[in-house]
Amino acid sequence: MVSGKKTKKTHESINNRLALVMKSGKFTLGYKTVLESLRSSKGKLIIISNNCPPLRKSEIEYYAMLAKVGVHHYNGNNVDLGTACGKYFRVSCLSIIDAGDSDIIKSLPGDS
């Protein structure tokens, strides 16, 4: 599941795709809403930061396995993920409900 060495290029492209989703799509940030979106089967892709507590990470992965939704382990901690989302707070996990113009859902689950 850990994809070897993530090159700078793919990392930036994930950030670009995320920025596009923030602009044009629907998403929710935060553990509670991520679980909610998984339960109601609205989430299409889950992104988890690398410093998310392991119990919480496994829980989200299990829910995603039940819901058959892809999970992407972001190569950065919650501070980085928050910045990538254009927010001034930390984001440990986020759920993309509607990707808008971005192709993040089609391109990412292949990696993780």
């Binding site: 679980l35 299409k44 039940l66 819901a67």
Partner: protein, 135 residues
């Protein structure tokens, strides 16, 4: 993107008196009701697990050890942990929200659930459901 909180799904209750107990979803209310404006479900679970039965036990002892005590409860989705297991026991006619209205209706519903759980336990299927979750 698959809905997994469906009837017959086995879940673990996370809080309250029945924390750590396994239960099965009988009916779900995804959008809530007027009294409970949040997603919740009606579960029937095991309050007292059956004990371990060994070959040495007499028939009377086996009968005593295989007893199950059941409970019926309306639980918030946030307070259950879904699992990949399912339990195919038909409880829809017995376990209803109506049964929770009064004490004696609840008791009769629990007794009927207990009977169905016990026969499923004795048939040897769904072994995971009837084993205690150690934590």
């Amino acid at each position: 993107m698959v809905k997994f909180l469906k009837p017959n799904k086995a879940v673990v209750v996370l809080g309250g008196r029945f924390a750590g107990r396994k239960a099965v979803i009988v009916k779900q209310f995804d959008d809530g009701t007027r009294d409970r404006p949040y997603g919740h479900c009606l579960v029937a679970g095991i309050s007292k697990y059956p004990k371990k039965v060994i070959r040495k036990d007499s028939a009377k002892k086996t009968a005593k050890k295989s007893r199950v005590k059941a409970f019926i409860k309306l639980v918030n989705y946030n307070h259950i942990m879904p699992t990949r297991y399912t339990l195919d026991v038909d409880l829809k006619d017995v376990v209803t929200v109506d049964a929770l209205q009064s004490r004696d209706k609840k008791v009769t519903a629990c007794k009927e659930t207990k009977a169905r759980f016990e026969e499923r336990f004795k048939s040897g299927k769904n072994r995971w459901f009837f084993s205690k979750l150690r934590f």
